[in-house]
């Protein structure tokens, strides 16, 4: 099994190298511009006002919170899916309880308007 992941590690490392290669090439061969306007932030040709880095709405955070909860839920489903067939009916009911509790969570988020983009 470690061998598997050794392969994956080589894939990731060599891949990172291959993706970086074009960046090295352009660093070597691409022409340099000394025209200061080219290095301005591109906002439709209008001079930039202020920073883009400003405060954002809380709704992005809310959505990612609900997402994390469901992502964790799905993680629990993977091992169950692998063994459910061999464990039989009991596994089905156990998972149903788990899912129902989480669907309650989704329903609550829905009711409270956490899923509205307002």
């Amino acid at each position: 099994m470690l061998l598997d992941w050794g392969y994956v590690a080589i894939f990731a490392l060599v891949g990172a190298g291959m993706v970086t290669l074009p960046l090295l090439i352009i660093w070597l061969i691409s022409p340099r511009s000394d025209y200061p306007q080219k290095f301005e932030t591109y906002e439709s040709g209008v001079p930039t006002i202020g920073q883009a880095w400003s405060q954002f709405h809380v709704r992005y955070y809310l959505f990612s919170l609900v997402f994390v909860v469901f992502d964790v839920e799905i993680i629990y489903l993977y091992p169950w899916a692998v063994v459910a067939r061999s464990l039989g009916t009991l596994a089905f009911w156990e998972m149903l309880v788990f899912l129902v509790i989480l669907v309650l969570g989704l329903a609550y988020a829905w009711r409270r308007g956490a899923l509205e983009w307002t």
């Binding site: 990731a12 993706v19 906002e43 880095w53 990612s64 992502d71 669907v103």
Partner: protein, 326 residues
């Protein structure tokens, strides 16, 4: 010297997969997209470079290589530069677990991991980080808005993808992609799981930010979204990431639902490629047919339709597989 042999095999495999994705998937994919969109709109599309315009994207790549190397003054240089590596690398890591075909000595796959589909979900979730880094690092209002929207969209549609993966894993009783393909020897899972297939396909389109879910790079309001500030080869690398991810999603859909390499008469690899390009055609067909969603519609669609339906589908599947089957 066994380990040296393994290292060599891994190296060769990596180089083959990266080149294949760059040339066959991305370069040819972009050309295909332009040709298909032209065909759907009664135009000709690229026609001058090479026979029937076949070398158009090659010429484009050479052009992009010679472009000026521009990093905006106000950008955060470190984050700006590393985002370009993260996005394509995360997309290409998906290909480790995709079985392309079968030979006499075993399935043609980079590595058949025990946690195959979970690995796929994990690596494709890394793309979000790259996109957020690109959007924030550019210090451009359009780019940051695009990056945030994109992240919200991609995480939202990761849930239905995950649920579809679990449903298939339940059918096959394994997370390994090769076992999943072998489980479809008698019947492709698309027949037993049409709902999961549709959910996966829709969520995959959203996951790769294509029309009708392309509001993250909506040209009319956000210039090009999170990669507005990226030009030249950096732009090409984002294209590599985007098309690489699209082909990975399609290849995964083939593996999970369309029987992978399985098919009569023709060699397995050819079957895989045929099914892959059929799905890619569907992606492009959708792109040139539908208008764009609004962001609230897009999020509602996932949370209020796709996720409840996929949970229900999972429960029904579980009932048939686990309870009724015995």
């Amino acid at each position: 010297m066994d380990w040296l042999w393994d290292v060599l095999r891994a190296l060769v495999g990596t180089i083959i997969i990266f080149s294949a994705v760059a040339f066959i998937a991305v370069m040819f994919g972009v050309l295909l997209e332009r040709k298909i969109s032209a065909w759907m709109q009664s135009r000709l599309g690229p026609k001058h470079v090479g026979p029937q315009g076949l070398l158009q994207t090659v010429a484009d790549t050479i052009k992009l290589l010679q472009k000026e190397n521009i990093v905006p003054n106000r950008a955060d240089r470190l984050i700006f530069a590393s985002a370009v590596v993260v996005v394509p690398l995360a997309a290409l890591l998906d290909y480790v677990v995709i079985p392309f075909g079968v030979t006499r000595s075993g399935p043609l796959i980079f590595r058949d991991l025990n946690i195959g589909v979970l690995y796929f979900a994990a690596t494709s979730s890394l793309v979000v980080i790259g996109i957020l880094m690109a959007g924030w690092g550019s210090n451009n209002k359009y780019a940051l808005l695009g990056g945030l929207r994109s992240a919200a969209q991609m995480v939202t549609y990761e849930i239905p993808i995950g649920l579809a993966l679990v449903t298939v894993a339940l059918m096959a009783g394994s997370l390994s992609t090769v076992t999943i393909v072998n489980g479809q020897a008698r019947l492709w899972y698309i027949v037993a799981q049409p709902v999961a297939f549709l959910i996966f396909l829709i969520a995959a389109i959203a996951e790769v930010n294509r029309v009708p879910f392309d509001l993250v790079e909506a040209e009319s309001e956000l210039v090009a979204g999170y990669f507005s500030e990226y030009s030249g080869m950096r732009f090409a690398l984002f294209q590599l990431g985007e098309y690489g991810e699209m082909f990975a999603m399609a290849a995964m859909a083939v593996t999970l639902f369309l029987g992978g390499w399985r098919g009569p008469v023709l060699p397995p690899v050819l079957w895989f490629v045929i099914k892959l390009y059929a799905l890619i055609f569907v992606f492009m067909w959708v792109r040139w047919t539908y208008p764009r969603f609004r962001i609230d519609q897009m999020l509602n669609f996932s949370w209020k339709i796709l996720i409840p339906v996929s949970v229900l589908n999972l429960v029904v599947t579980a009932f048939f597989v686990v309870v009724a089957h015995r």
